[in-house]
């Protein structure tokens, strides 16, 4: 049989996000979208391409460059009973909308004793490794993990991107979605996607991305792939690493990690945010409290240095976690 050129039905991370948005907009006419350049342009990366054409300019709002107003208007929409999808053009820019997120939106349910809930999703491209420099590379999720009332997710695969975003859009709480822009169009992670409810990925459930018995490496986002590479490296050294992608930071699935630690008794946590008060430190602290008895070695963190993210490649790679840095840390933990 002559080999016909195979048409791939696999889809990339960006398409997955797009499908999630279109499916949820189709299914729920109470969702509105607001952000900079999301309508006419379809978003700086094209995540909302075609959304305005399909659902109209009333539901898909091209906002002025005003992150505080964007979040605040979305908050008002939710107060009135709608659901809102907010795009941050880059997650770095979220700082200019900070007060509206942490003081206005995150606290709304709490301060009204449950009268009002905020079904709002704030999503945006995040993370380093792309030469984006100081203001297009950040992982600032710790600011928000430190603000009670916000859920936070960070998908690393197309399936998770679609499933978590869909679940976030159905959640009655504000959810921040940290999208990995370096994964948006990465061919090697493309995969088949489900549609409708079958595509949902619940918030607060970790995913075991590789099984192993010698050390548990916990991460999320871009770094999951560095961890998987490190696991390959460790295999060469005779150690089998288990790689857990937490996917959700808040709420955190501690159970899956503890289950793994009972088997491996060794822990390395990896993320690309700065070290001090970063989320890796939080995971490490919680596991030390909850699972100290299972640990045979001091757990370790691999994080960005306590620096901003610099621009040119050698500088950027110097400060960010890499497969080699993770391998080195895991070996130290294994050989303790």
């Amino acid at each position: 049989m002559a080999a016909a050129p195979e048409v791939s039905t696999k889809k990339n991370y960006l398409t997955a996000l797009k499908e999630a948005i279109f499916e949820e907009f189709e299914a729920h006419d109470d969702i509105i979208a607001i952000g900079e350049d999301i309508g006419f342009l379809g978003g700086a990366f094209g995540v909302t391409e075609g959304l305005k054409e399909k659902f109209g300019s009333e539901r898909v709002i091209d906002a002025p460059i005003s992150e505080a107003a964007i979040v605040g208007v979305a908050c008002g929409m939710c107060l009135h009973g709608k659901r809102a999808l907010v795009e941050m053009q880059f997650i770095d820019f979220i700082s200019t909308g900070f007060d509206q997120i942490v003081n206005m939106t995150a606290t709304y349910h709490y301060r009204t004793a449950g009268e009002v809930s905020m079904p709002m999703v704030i999503r945006g491209p995040a993370g380093g490794y792309g030469g984006g420099a100081l203001y297009h590379s950040q992982m600032n999720e710790a600011w928000f993990a430190n603000s009670p009332g916000l859920k936070i997710v960070c998908p690393s695969t197309p399936k998770d991107a679609k499933g978590l975003l869909k679940a976030a859009l159905r959640d009655p709480n504000p959810v921040l979605v940290y999208e990995m822009k370096e994964l948006y169009r990465l061919r090697k992670i493309e995969e088949e996607l489900e549609t409708g409810d079958a595509a949902l990925v619940p918030l607060g459930k970790a995913s075991v991305r590789r099984e192993g018995e010698d050390v548990t490496i916990v991460s999320y986002g871009n770094n999951v792939y560095h961890c998987l590479q490190a696991a390959e490296n460790l295999e060469q050294e005779g150690y089998r690493a288990e790689v857990i992608d937490i996917r959700s930071l808040v709420p955190l699935d501690e159970e899956t990690i503890i289950h793994s630690l009972k088997k491996t008794n060794r822990l390395v946590v990896v993320n690309e945010a700065p070290r001090t008060c970063g989320f890796a430190g939080e995971i490490l602290a919680r596991l030390t409290e909850e699972a100290f008895e299972y640990l045979d070695a001091p757990p370790m963190r691999v994080t960005r240095l306590d620096t901003p993210v610099p621009w040119v490649k050698p500088l950027e790679l110097f400060v960010l976690p890499s497969a080699d840095k993770i391998t080195e840390a895991a070996l130290r933990v294994c050989k303790f």
């Binding site: 208007v73 009135h80 009332g149």
Partner: protein, 374 residues
């Protein structure tokens, strides 16, 4: 201390024009407005007395001398309109939709019982006493929940009426702001958004001359804060904040404009903060503000201004005007006899209810961080 520069600015003539007032209002409206001014004043002085007696804790942000702004702006609203008050507008929470009857449980405003429960930190507060003072609200009563972040609720106000308009509604939202908060970035972001989308957002600027300890000339380079409107291409009106009829007229002009789909506007109400930023600041405020300025600022008491107009128009007699005379007096000087009995009785009902309402259970402090289920 205010400088020569400030004194010079005070000499400038204000740009608002007086009357003729509201041909739409009847003598009965005038009487109701006067009563509401007295109720707002009584609420203020009574709470100060309660605190002095040690029956109340927490900081009080007096609306003394600024009541005409609250009463006049609320009076012409439709029940379903939204409001977004701040700390100095505490009476607004229970005065919204008061025309439906002060004790009408169906009116789209909080009851005085609920507001008193909030003041006393009791569980029957609309927010179950989770945040302090004016930080309450009610979706059901169309009152946006306030926070301490000044101008921080204007974007939400814009979002509420955007959503309302999507559903075919014609609700207008009034947001209340001190003149100091107009310097916040979020003020500009939100009013700009409202202007772009021609949203029915009426932004009231209560210019009481002092942003805590900072005088207006260090807040803004122009005389009238209403001029903030120019940059957005929207109307900016100036009202005499001591005159409830002028406030009513100017706000209604802005409300009619908004409801007709023409977009937002700013209504600056010129007034004067009679006492400190909060009661904790009364003593210091007497030092950082010149006595002469304070005396001049208190001289046009909104209750006195209203009474004078009503006597002039023959709506009440001079004797009736003088019967209950709380105007021009501080909290320490007035007594219950200075207020109409129905005003005293109304607030008594609120306070009595609050005193019987329990404190929330401690474990409520850990509840409602997230909404469970859907």
């Amino acid at each position: 201390m205010a400088t020569t520069e400030a004194d010079q600015r005070k000499k400038k003539t204000t740009s608002y024009q007086h009357g003729p007032y509201s041909s739409k209002l009847t003598p009965d409206d005038y009487k109701e407005l006067l009563l509401q001014l007295q109720l707002a004043r009584y609420f203020d002085v009574r709470l100060i007395k309660e605190k002095k007696r040690g029956r109340l804790t927490g900081t009080l942000y007096s609306s003394h001398n600024q009541e005409a702004i609250i009463v006049g702006s609320l009076y012409g609203l439709r029940p379903y309109d939204w409001i977004s008050p701040i700390h100095r507008d505490m009476p607004a929470f229970f005065m919204k939709d008061m025309k439906a009857g002060w004790r009408n449980p169906d009116r789209v405003g909080m009851s005085v019982q609920q507001v008193c429960c909030q003041v006393w930190g009791r569980v029957d507060s609309p927010g179950r006493a989770r945040d302090n003072w004016s930080h309450i609200g009610s979706r059901e009563k169309h009152i946006i929940h306030s926070t301490s972040m000044l101008a921080g609720t204007i974007p939400a106000a814009a979002g509420v009426v955007y959503a309302d308009r999507m559903e075919g509604g014609d609700a207008v939202v009034l947001t209340y702001n001190g003149e100091g908060s107009t310097a916040q970035g979020v003020f500009h972001e939100a009013v700009n958004f409202a202007a772009v989308h021609k949203l029915p957002v009426v932004t009231i600027v209560e210019n009481n001359q002092w942003a805590y300890g900072t005088p207006t000339y260090l807040e803004y380079s122009q005389e009238d804060f209403a001029r903030r409107a120019d940059g957005f291409g929207i109307p900016g009106l100036v009202a005499d904040g001591q005159n409830v009829l002028d406030v009513y007229d100017k706000v209604m002009e802005a409300v009619a404009w908004a409801r007709a789909g023409k977009g937002p506007s700013i209504v600056e109400c010129k007034t004067f903060r009679a006492y400190g930023h909060g009661d904790h600041d009364d003593d210091r405020a007497a030092k950082y503000r010149p006595t002469q300025e304070v005396e001049a600022g208190r001289a046009r008491d909104p209750i006195a201004v209203m009474k004078r107009m009503m006597v002039e128009q023959g709506i009440i007699s001079k004797a009736e005007a003088e019967k209950y005379a709380s105007e021009g007096k501080g909290a320490a000087e007035v007594t219950n006899d200075d207020f109409p009995p129905e005003v005293v009785q109304y607030l008594n009902e609120g306070i009595e209810f609050a005193m019987k309402s329990p404190l929330p259970e401690p474990e409520e402090g850990g509840m409602w961080v997230f909404r469970e289920g859907n």
